[in-house]
């Protein structure tokens, strides 16, 4: 277990440091946002794949994180409290929604609907704040135009020392690695193992004496905080936030990334996200064929041919050639 983690860390760092030597700055620019999205994908992969919470509207936390960062950064002229806000705001919302849903013992599908509906509500509300009067401190909400000129991330408490493109690349990459390793450790902790049990059978977990509501709420909040972090990174990267971050189509994209990569794994969401983002970006540039057509065909084919997602399919192939003992929940 330690060995695998060490391998992941070294591999990740090697990749992170090696890539700038072989690819152009423009690609690094794209990879940075892919990494931020991958963090977002991880949040959904955690909450859905390891806790069984169908968060169809996970984009709510991403968007909230992005907006919280933007508004706080503009008001405080320092990204440090802004990053804290980006973690705090989604977590607070998750506490509210989670309490309402889990302690009300809402069932799975209906939680999905509530989640979806919340993202729709926030999208509608934020979208309609175009009027000048919608301001929080110095930051106008901007409605469907969004908030432009979002300040970049700076070194903690030193607002003059901001991070440039390459710095953002390294920061986002390192954060992705930290989140990944952190989640792996979380999932082998008692808390994580119990959450996996809850995913498998809530009834059985309850009968073993675990307060299922609290475990789900805990995981849901952790997922929200991670999504918020991703949102903040996205806002800082592009210097812009808009209501599309709350949108259903964005939430659905995350679901696709996780399913395609492999539900119930951690590396799957990362791979699924980066691969599909890369394909979409490339298609957008090359313009030979509408990206929707290709994506649509990929999804349909993937579901029909690789129902578990690519990572489990690859794991299955690996196991076929190298049979060994099966492990427990996380991968």
């Amino acid at each position: 277990m330690i060995a695998k983690l060490a391998l992941a860390i070294f591999g990740g760092l090697a990749l992170l440091c090696g890539l700038p030597l072989v690819v152009e700055t423009y690609t690094l620019f794209n990879l940075t946002v892919f990494a931020a999205m991958a963090i977002f994908a991880l949040s959904l992969g955690l909450v859905w794949g390891f806790s069984g919470i169908l968060s169809l509207g996970q984009s709510v936390f991403f968007g909230l994180g992005a907006y919280a960062y933007a508004i706080a950064a503009i008001n405080f002229s320092d990204s440090t409290p802004a990053l804290v806000a980006a973690l705090a705001a989604p977590t607070t919302l998750a506490l509210l929604i989670g309490y309402f849903a889990f302690f009300g013992r809402v069932t799975d599908v209906y939680f999905g609907v509530i989640s979806l509906t919340t993202s729709l509500i926030l999208y509608s509300l934020v979208n309609s704040t175009s009027d000048q009067s919608f301001v929080i401190g110095k930051a106008p909400l901007g409605g469907y135009n969004g908030i432009p000129s979002v300040p970049p991330i700076n070194w903690p408490f030193m607002p003059e020392w901001t991070l440039g493109f390459e710095d953002m690349y390294y920061l986002t990459g390192v954060l992705l690695l930290i989140v990944y390793v952190g989640l792996r450790l979380l999932l082998v902790s008692p808390f994580g193992r119990i959450c996996i049990g809850v995913r498998e059978s809530e009834t059985r977990a309850e009968l073993l004496g675990y307060d299922v509501r609290k475990y789900k709420l805990g995981m849901f909040c952790i997922g929200a905080a991670i999504a918020g972090l991703a949102g903040a990174l996205f806002a800082a990267w592009g210097s812009f936030v808009g209501p599309d971050s709350f949108s259903v189509s964005f939430a659905a994209q995350a679901i696709i990334w996780v399913m395609f990569g492999g539900l119930g794994t951690l590396i799957g969401p990362i791979i699924g996200c980066v691969a599909l983002q890369a394909i979409t970006t490339w298609l957008g540039q090359v313009k030979i064929i509408d990206p929707n057509i290709v994506l649509g065909l990929i999804f349909i084919a993937a579901v029909l041919l690789l129902p578990q997602g690519i990572v489990p399919a690859l794991q299955g192939l690996y196991r076929r050639f190298m049979p060994r003992r099966q492990g427990s929940g996380a991968a």
């Binding site: 193992r193 498998e200 059985r204 309850e206 004496g209 492990g327 427990s328």
Partner: protein, 240 residues
Amino acid sequence: MILETRQLWCRFGGVAAVAGVDFQLEEGEVRCLIGANGAGKSTFFKMLTGQLRPTSGAISVMGRDVTRLAPFEIARLGVGVKMQVPALFDGITVRESLALGALRTLERRRVGDAVQAMLKQIQLEAEADVQVGLLSHGQRQWVELGMVLMADPKLVLLDEPAAGMTRGEVEKTIALIGRLRGRHTVVVVEHDMHFVGRIAEKVTVFHRGMVLAEGSMDTILRDSRVREVYLGRKAGGVRG
């Protein structure tokens, strides 16, 4: 007294599935609840586990009133439950499932040994690292039993533990329950009369939501009310 119910009722619409049951269980007993389908045993059982709210009446476990408690709260008092419909962690291994049963009550470093010991008890050492979902039906029942016992519950509630098992598997289950005698108090809901005869010290017969008769297996079989309900008056009168 480890378990007691007073005037326990459970009504669904106009139907009373459990109609005023007074039930007492002493520590260390192995009690079987029997009765025809629809007699109210399972409904009664679900109220004991906290999965169903009684319409009226009271339940107390180890002296505490548990009538309105959630299943996890009742479990924490030291009650282990195995439902009729298997509730298992299908996607993880046997070893991990047993570990989850112990994580709440044991220190982390003691869990490993405890799991190993349980694997031996339920005779699944060879299958320790197999996914639970891949096991046979009988093996899954034992995994569930194992999980329940990991927390060393004082009161063990089993709903049809022998359901769907082969003769050999039933024998093993009888032996397992036999080993529980003394350290745990056991309540078993069962249909298989052979099974009941082998394990029960005392039997409670349910009928139409009420307790019809209670006593040792012999007493029950001789009870005229029981014979009337199960065999009909004429048929019951012939055999001894």
